[in-house]
């Protein structure tokens, strides 16, 4: 067991965790932030993607000790009560959500992508998000949602999906 301190969605957390406990389990079981999903627990599906110091990580592969002193953003940290983040809204508008289980991971990954590459090509989107699996959508509308979100975040705005 060790004491770890880290910031989650802007709130400082201080908890005792076993060394082998994953960030994913801490988020879900200890902090009850269940928006982050467990699809495999082996680093193969991307459902557990969160931002760790702004970088996207599979939280099922991150151990408690590694997050000490870090800043974590989860899906719950994007929206405020009033308004969705433009990425979240684009996922709704473009029909990129079906069962919704992959969605939090997809949205977080999109966030990471657009921070680095505000106007990605389709190829860049597909390469960047390859590790995030979705069994429902065939990805077509997810790619559209990322493109739409990108356009909406640009100063010139725009970005409609039909």
């Amino acid at each position: 067991m060790r004491q770890i301190k880290f910031r989650v969605n802007g709130v400082m957390q201080s908890i005792e965790a076993a060394d082998n406990q994953t960030l994913l389990d801490i988020l879900r079981e200890r902090l009850h932030l269940t928006g982050t999903k467990k699809g495999c627990d082996e680093g193969d599906c991307g459902a557990c993607t969160v931002l760790l110091n702004k970088q996207p990580v599979n939280s099922c592969l991150v151990l408690a000790a590694e997050v000490d002193g870090c800043e974590v953003i989860t899906i719950e940290g994007l929206a405020n009560e009033e308004k969705n983040d433009p990425i979240q809204q684009a996922f709704v508008d473009c029909g990129a959500v079906q069962c919704g289980f992959c969605t939090p991971g997809m949205v977080m990954m999109t966030h990471a992508l657009l921070e680095e590459t505000p106007n990605p090509s389709e190829e860049e989107i597909r390469n960047f998000m390859e590790g995030n699996l979705c069994r429902c959508t065939g990805y077509v509308k997810i790619v559209e949602a990322v493109q739409t979100a990108a356009a909406r975040r640009l100063p010139e705005g725009g970005g409609e999906c039909d």
Partner: protein
């Protein structure tokens, strides 16, 4: 276009899936899964596990009533008592305060076994001296008369005309054998459930299921409880595709909850899902076809060998469906079809998105391509010549009233010109284009719906269906909104709770939008009738002169005379002294006739409706490695009427993606009954880099009557993709790969 109504909770992480449920005092349930494929259980000693601090309950098969369950064949128990039949089968379970304690407790359970020789292929199960997997097979109840014997779960046959005469009259005879793998649904959410048994002796189970009522039925049967004492709440579900249709871990969680008095949560791991979900059956299909020079199909003979795994689950049904669908959407004068479903000591297979559909059509539609090439007939033309149309009959002799295959083919052909003609070629790769069609019989299960027109004119719709990502909530709300002339946001949908909504048959068999649409619309129509009748008194005009729209009731030819729906709802209550308008409607499925002489032991001989589809795939085959990459897919599907168009597109695109996995990468690999690639690194479902642009073509019937003409779209898109890809591979490099998946190795070896 309308957005998915529950989209917001899903993009914000607020949607609650079963694994997300947390209540004070909840404990962890874990299942001990067998590591051997076939064994007699001599003794299970749980004392040490029970005594471990933090353990609240330990159960084995002995704790359950001695009953068998199953949809078509009752051959399975809630937890095995005497015999293990596959690796991954649950043999004991514990409830403990945390995961670690639960794991430790499982390790302390001692099992004494007598190992038995395993059966690892359908052929093996048919051998004379094969070990008998179900010793008491003769005592099992079946829902329809089935031909069963020893390890044969079901022998399904169909005959029409005179097969030998048919072959004799043919100009060309073609024979092929196809080998199809066991593949997994692999929904992104492994199954999870929470159960609680309260002080009123009521059991409540919150679960990720496609059918709350099926789960309730299963639990009640396995635990011998009255249905009224079991409540199943279908929470948000991370995809099903057939994997979450019946009571599995729910029954175990329920027993643990009863024994421990606590809320018990069981979450399957990804490996559990690969070991114990009920995936798509592996099969061998042999097809011999006789055809005239002018392209008319005359005779088809087929032998279908299905590996059911340890239990029937859906084996007899899937086999029956392959027997029906093996013709593809074409007519034949002479048929001789036989399907044999065999028990093995492997994971029991169930229904996976269109069970039997992709399998039968891979055989039928790749052979169709071969016939077209051998006769030098255009593949579209060959299909049109033979297309099933209204008035033609299916293998079991059901006369079709649905039609439209030719139209689907025509629309696909037009779309191909627009979308496939100008994809740039890639150096070092050979381009090929292939097409395939399909037909699919929807299931029919009666359902109900209740509508409350609330005092303020808002509407609450109660349905028993679970929103599994299929868009049922949105589609049903749209039907009500349109009928009552109100914005869809004003319809609040209560769904998935067996104690809150009327009976519903589940998200299975592409049936929901039609089967549930009927009672939903009938209820909405009755609400409308009552509203109009009251308004007609208030406005003093005949009901026929009134119409609904914009949350108002108008006089048709004088729209200044109107009432708000809210006023009507309210004043009707005041005037009558009664409550708000409440209407419940239910439906019974349509069961067409078929020819009983033609088929035997067929459990799915007639279907309420048939739908048609056709797809085209453009592929690139790497000339060095043999790797097939798909450049584009066009998928044309007939839906009668698209209620929720964005949802229909999503179903088509997702179905095609699953079809691409079947075509190119997915296969559960077994060694002596153990799946050796039980993770997403080794079992490759398509990623964003594998799935190309998919162009959905939604075909609606002109003047479609709603709800009568609404057809399902959940399964059909997954059906013709694999044969379209295989035909494209042939077009590119001239080899036929009759074994799925079409891996680079297979293409490389075949082209060498």
């Amino acid at each position: 276009m309308t957005n998915r109504l529950e989209g917001n909770e899903k993009v914000t992480g607020k949607a609650i899936f079963a694994g997300d449920i947390h209540v004070e005092g909840i404990v962890v349930g874990k299942i001990l899964r067998s590591k051997v494929a076939h064994a007699r259980i001599k003794n299970i000693i749980t004392d040490r596990a029970s005594k471990l601090p933090g353990v609240l309950a330990v159960i084995t098969g002995k704790d359950f009533p001695d009953v068998y369950g199953g949809r078509t064949v009752r051959d399975e128990q809630a937890m095995v008592k005497n015999k293990i039949r596959y690796i991954g089968e649950g043999v004991a379970a514990v409830a403990a305060v945390d995961e670690e304690t639960a794991e430790r407790a499982l390790e302390l359970i001692e099992i004494e076994l007598e190992e038995l020789p395993g059966v690892f292929s359908a052929e093996g199960g048919l051998e004379d001296n094969a070990p008998l997997i179900h010793e008491n097979w003769q005592s099992y109840w079946t829902s329809v008369p089935l031909t069963r014997r020893d390890n044969i779960d079901a022998l399904v046959t169909a005959k029409k005309g005179d097969i030998e005469a048919g072959f004799a009259a043919s100009d060309l005879i073609i024979e092929d054998e196809f080998i199809l793998p066991l593949i997994h649904h692999a929904p992104m959410e492994p199954k999870a459930t929470v159960a609680y048994y309260d002080s009123n002796r009521k059991l409540t189970v919150w679960t990720g299921t496609q059918s709350a009522f099926s789960v309730r039925r299963g639990i009640a049967r396995y635990l011998q409880l009255p249905l009224s004492r079991v409540r199943v709440v279908g929470v948000r579900v991370g995809g099903g595709f057939g994997a979450k249709t019946t009571a599995t871990i729910e029954t175990v969680a329920a027993m643990l909850a009863i024994k421990s008095g606590r809320h018990v949560k069981i979450e399957m791991s990804r490996q559990d899902d690969f070991y114990a979900a009920n995936p798509r059956n592996s099969m061998k299909i042999w097809v011999k076809t006789g055809v005239k020079k002018d392209g008319r199909l005359i005779a088809r003979q087929a032998r279908i060998l299905v590996d059911s795994g340890a239990y029937d689950i859906f084996g007899a049904n899937t086999t029956s469906q392959v027997v029906t669908l093996i013709t593809g959407p074409y007519k034949f004068e002479h048929l001789d079809i036989e399907g044999t479903c065999v028990y093995t000591t492997k994971i029991p297979c169930g229904a996976c998105r269109g069970p039997g559909g992709p399998e039968a059509h891979f055989a039928a539609e790749t052979q169709m391509d071969r016939i077209a090439r051998e006769l030098g007939i255009d593949p579209f033309e060959l299909r049109r010549i033979n297309a099933l149309e209204a008035g033609d009959d299916t293998v079991p002799g059901q006369v079709l009233t649905d039609y439209g295959y030719t139209n689907v083919l025509n629309q696909l052909e037009i779309a191909m010109k627009d979308h496939l003609d100008n994809i740039p070629l890639t150096p070092g790769k050979a381009r090929g284009i292939g097409i395939a069609g399909c037909f699919w019989g929807m299931s029919g299960i009666g359902s109900g719906a209740t509508i409350h027109l609330n005092e303020d004119g808002s509407v609450t719709l109660f349905i028993g269906a679970v929103e599994i990502g299929n868009g049922v909530i949105t589609a049903m709300a749209l039907l009500v909104a349109e009928e009552l002339g109100i914005p869809v946001e004003n319809v609040s949908v209560i769904s998935g709770d067996t104690d809150a909504g009327p009976y519903e048959g589940g998200a299975v068999g592409s049936r929901t939008t039609h089967d549930l649409g009927v009672p939903v619309l009938n209820a909405a129509r009755e609400v409308k009738k009552q509203v109009l009748s009251f308004a007609s008194g208030q406005l003093d005009v005949d009901v026929k002169e009134l119409e609904l729209g914009d949350s108002r009731i108008f006089v048709k030819n004088d729209r200044s005379r109107m009432l708000k729906l809210e006023q009507v709802a309210n004043s009707r209550i005041n005037a009558t002294g009664g409550g708000p308008i409440v209407v419940t409607a239910s439906s019974t499925p349509f069961k067409p006739d078929y020819d009983k002489q033609r088929v035997s032991s067929h459990s799915r001989a007639s279907k309420p409706f048939f739908v048609f589809g056709a797809q085209a795939a453009a592929v690139d085959v790497d000339l060095v490695t043999g790797k097939v990459s798909v450049c584009k897919v066009i998928a044309a599907h007939d839906v009668g009427k698209a209620v929720f168009p964005k949802g229909v597109e999503g179903q088509i695109q997702g179905g095609v993606a699953m079809g691409l996995g079947y075509a190119l990468s997915e296969e559960a690999v077994f060694d002596q009954g153990r799946m050796i690639n039980a993770n997403f690194l080794d079992y490759r479902i398509p990623t964003m880099l594998d799935v190309p642009e998919i162009i959905p073509i939604i075909i609606e019937k002109p003047n479609a009557r709603v709800p009568e003409d609404i057809r399902g779209i959940g399964e059909p898109p997954a059906i013709p993709t694999a044969p379209a890809v295989a035909n494209a591979v042939f077009d590119a490099v001239g080899v036929r790969i009759n074994t799925l998946p079409i891996t680079p190795e297979r293409v490389f070896m075949a082209t060498k």
